[in-house]
């Protein structure tokens, strides 16, 4: 079968799974929903592999196919099709998405077991995977927007999965609203593209763009900036990032899948896909790179002081996506995509391990209260450390190779881009520090109460269910987390998924060791062949020098964290006191939430209040009741004529007749 047929099947299975679970949830026994969900994504992965095989069997230059099922709109100059585009980049994304999703579905199979909304969860999760696949496989901008919007909806549905928690629904709305801002940018960009180039199809757009636009012309720059708005909203870059930490209200598998591996990488994919346009608008590309850099550093700094385990990992995600955005913006396309892949592995793993620990803590996410899990949960802590090593770019792990490849490229490009090289390493240092801060706070040391109970009895603590953010008591009914908590040690699906990811996190980077093999670059080469930037390759020597520097920085970061949290545990407190203003800034997340509140939320609410109280009351009601009042008043005036006095009627009659006669006299004279 052809590559596009397999690609259509990739789209089909998650959709069928979602619909089947969604419609049949009453009839299906609990574990069946999970099995169907996982199986459908696994099938999609298999079809993705098949597509890959077919693609690899073709000539490298011919590895791009567009296929459409039917026309949406073919009138008035529009020609929008339900069409997909299969090329190395989309297949790469398909494999990453379906592969990591299968493992996360497997993990959820065990983790969400006692949740009342189990079926709903898998239906939503399958729908999310379908939308993400639609997004990456889309062959034209309209279908991209459709997938983009579906992904936003799925994210909202999954963040506010425990919908009876007030904090969860607020977080879901916040994520959705910010995503909509991004959607607006994307739609406007699509409109501009259509207006300038007359088509939505990828191949046509990217072929025509160099002919129609000159470099840095304002139209193409505007298109790229609007695309960036969309990308930044979805990928949680400054300033549209405030939704990501709050999105941790969702269940841990959701955080692992959507907010680590897949949805937040959609922005990176978008920039990589439209790289032809960004080549024509270098200013926009530079802006993107600097925004990525800023996010990288700001998020890294905030992660240093976060006490909520999942939020700390969320800020880490934001920071790593900053690396990816920098990568695809400055021309290191395959390096950026490589980092996307490795990040998916180790970040999903970190979230899974964190989920296991939080379950052991009876849904308490505060690391101040966690310690000693190294002894209580061996498997979880080993996988946590594996993920942490990869994140901190410990030598020979996957994160090591991918992150340093981006930085080596930045140095190779030279000039202004050395800033990225230097600050990238600063960010790497921060990453190592905050990652191992988490590791050294949670795992070693005297076991906390919950850990002690695990060691003693092997039972997971059953505290009263509480909202970790607001502390209010919740029950275990639908709309709240389930009554039981499942840790990896007691659940084989969770262990299986985490084991596979640990392996990939540690050894997945070996496919792209500089000088030895470059499987990913070669695979993605045809996609980026039209870009002069992709031709810039750091020399092998320079790459190994970069790797060396990276190794040193990573070990230094781990060492600093070890010193601060194990050797001299009172050091952090002293530092906080010494640098209190800096600490306040970081703890308040650089005041972005407050800034957005003042700039956007308050004016919007004020407009709404104005519309409701003033405009609605005075203008609209005024027009409506004013009309009725006028009519009633006029009626009241006219009513006086009907006085009941016969003589006044007679007077009016005679007066009317006299008037009429006067008129006729005057008109004929």
């Amino acid at each position: 079968m052809s590559a596009t047929t397999w690609a259509w099947l990739v789209l089909l299975f998650p959709l069928l799974g979602s619909i089947a679970i969604g419609l049949g949830f009453r009839a299906l026994p609990t574990r069946a929903a999970g099995a169907i969900g996982t199986a459908s994504i696994a099938l999609a992965f298999v079809c993705g592999v098949a597509t890959l095989i077919v693609l690899l069997g073709e000539d490298p230059d011919a590895r791009h196919h567009a296929s459409s099922l039917w026309d949406y709109a073919s009138a008035a100059g529009l020609d929008i099709k339900l069409g997909i585009f299969v090329d190395p980049l989309s297949v790469f994304m398909v494999l990453v998405v379906t592969g990591v999703s299968t493992l996360i579905h497997l993990y959820s199979f065990g983790y969400m077991e006692s949740d009342e909304g189990y079926h709903r969860f898998f239906s939503y999760l399958n729908f999310f995977v379908f939308s993400m696949l639609l997004l990456v496989l889309a062959g034209n901008f309209v279908l991209l927007i459709v997938g983009w919007a579906f992904v936003g909806f799925a994210s909202y549905a999954l963040i506010s999965f425990w919908y009876r928690r007030a904090t969860a629904t607020k977080a879901g709305i916040k994520a959705f609203v910010i995503n909509v801002v991004g959607d607006i940018g994307l739609v406007l960009a699509a409109i501009l593209i259509f207006r300038e180039l007359g088509t939505f199809e990828y191949e046509a757009v990217f072929a025509k763009a160099p002919e129609v636009f000159s470099v840095n012309e304002w139209t193409v720059t505007a298109i790229c900036l609007l695309l960036l708005v969309g990308a930044f909203a979805k990928s949680a870059q400054l300033p549209l990032h405030t939704w990501l930490p709050d999105a941790m209200e969702g269940p841990t598998p959701v955080s692992a899948l959507i907010h680590a591996a897949t949805m937040v990488t959609a922005g990176v994919y978008l920039i990589a896909r439209t790289h032809a346009l960004f080549l024509l608008a270098p200013t926009a590309a530079d802006i993107a790179a600097f925004v990525g850099l800023a996010t990288l550093l700001v998020a890294g700094s905030i992660a240093l002081v976060m006490t909520d385990l999942k939020r700390a990992i969320a800020y880490s995600t934001m920071s790593q996506i900053g690396y990816m955005v920098v990568g695809v913006s400055i021309g290191a396309y395959s390096a950026g995509m490589f980092h996307l892949m490795t990040h998916a592995f180790f970040k999903a793993l970190l979230f899974m391990a964190a989920g296991s620990i939080i379950a052991a803590m009876a849904n308490n996410q505060n690391i101040d209260e966690m310690s000693g899990f190294g002894k209580a949960m061996r498997f979880t802590s080993i996988t946590f450390v594996c993920g942490g090593l990869a994140l901190a770019a410990f030598p020979a792990t996957s994160g090591f190779f991918s992150k340093d490849e981006i930085l080596a490229y930045a140095h190779a490009r030279g000039g202004m881009y050395d800033i990225f090289w230097v600050l990238g390493y600063v960010g790497a240092l921060l990453t190592a520090i905050y990652t191992f801060r988490l590791v050294f706070r949670v795992l070693p040391g005297a076991p906390c109460k919950e850990a002690q109970e695990l060691i003693d009895s092997g039972h997971v603590v059953h505290a009263e269910p509480r909202n970790p953010a607001s502390g209010e008591v919740e029950d275990a009914d639908v709309g709240f987390p389930g009554a039981e908590h499942h840790i990896a040690e007691q659940s084989w699906p969770m262990r299986a998924a985490m084991a596979i990811l640990a392996f990939l996190a540690l050894f997945g980077g070996l496919v792209q060791v500089p000088g030895i093999d470059d499987a990913i670059t070669r695979f993605l080469d045809p996609v980026f062949a039209d870009s002069a930037l992709a031709a810039i390759q750091p020399s092998v020597g320079a790459s190994w020098v970069g790797l060396g520097i990276g190794a040193v920085i990573s070990l230094a970061g781990i060492g600093i964290a070890y010193y601060a949290y194990i050797v001299r545990p009172e050091l952090p407190a002293t530092l906080i006191e010494r640098l209190r203003p800096v600490y306040t800034l970081l703890v308040n997340k650089w005041y972005f939430d407050e800034l957005i509140d003042i700039l956007v939320v308050r004016p919007a609410l004020a407009i709404g209040r104005f519309a409701n109280q003033t405009f609605e009351r005075i203008v609209v009601d005024g027009i409506v009741t004013g009309t009725t009042d006028t009519v009633r008043g006029a009626g009241g005036i006219v009513r006086f004529v009907q006085s009941g006095f016969v003589r006044s009627y007679a007077l009016l009659l005679v007066a009317g007749f006299a008037g009429l006669a006067l008129y006729f006299l005057l008109s004929t004279s």
């Binding site: 006095f645 003589r647 006044s648 007077l651 006299a658 006669a661 006067l662 004279s669």
Partner: protein, 200 residues
């Protein structure tokens, strides 16, 4: 001679009209109207309409006015109150009357109907005689004649229904009249409003 008669009759008519409008007592008003009707009959004679003049006297002054006399006698001649409830009526009414008269006069005098300025064509001897009117009524104007008869029948029936006996209490503005009017209605056995003229 003719002018003298005209002016005499005109003054009579005007006097009667003003009398109707001005007299407080409606009985005197009825009498003034009778004078007015007689004057009009003279004017009709001056216009060689003998039959109409006769009909005016016999029917109008003879029957209709007698009906009025009966009713005024039954109802009584109460005077009206002096206070005017409708604002402006006392001022506007004469104004309207004057306006009406002025406009109509202008219409007549300045009319381009030149025949108005003459005394009319010479007519044959039997103009306006009963024979001539009778002929017309039964030949050219048969249908209006018959319609008028039916109208008279309807009026008669209507009058009987309107003023006929009522069994049961009658409604009044004053609630206490209910007991009063019941025996009143039954004792008023004579139906008022007999049709005065059976045929025109």
């Amino acid at each position: 001679m003719e002018q003298v008669l005209f002016f005499a009759a005109a003054i009579g008519a005007l006097g009667g009209a003003i009398g109707v409008v001005a007299m407080r007592n409606p009985f005197y008003g009825v009498l003034a109207l009778i004078v007015h009707l007689f004057s009009l009959a003279v004017l009709f004679l001056l216009l060689t309409s003998a039959f109409v003049a006769a009909a005016q006297v016999v029917v109008y002054a003879g029957a209709v006015m007698v009906l009025y006399v009966f009713v005024v006698a039954y109802v009584g001649s109460g005077t009206e109150s002096a206070w005017e409830p409708i604002p402006g009526q006392r001022f506007l009414a004469p104004l309207m009357g004057v306006a009406l008269f002025v406009e109509l006069s202008i219409a007549v005098i300045a009319s381009s109907l030149l025949a108005l300025g003459s005394r009319g064509p010479d007519v044959k001897a039997g103009f306006g005689d009963p024979a001539a009117i009778g002929n017309l009524l039964l030949e050219r104007f048969l249908i209006p004649f018959e319609a008028a008869s039916i109208l008279l029948l309807l009026a008669a029936v209507g009058a009987v229904v309107l003023a006929g006996q009522r069994h049961g209490p009658g409604e009044g503005l004053t609630g206490s009249s209910s007991e009063h009017s019941a025996p009143e209605a039954r004792s008023e056995g004579v139906p008022v409003g007999q049709s005065p003229g059976g045929s025109a």
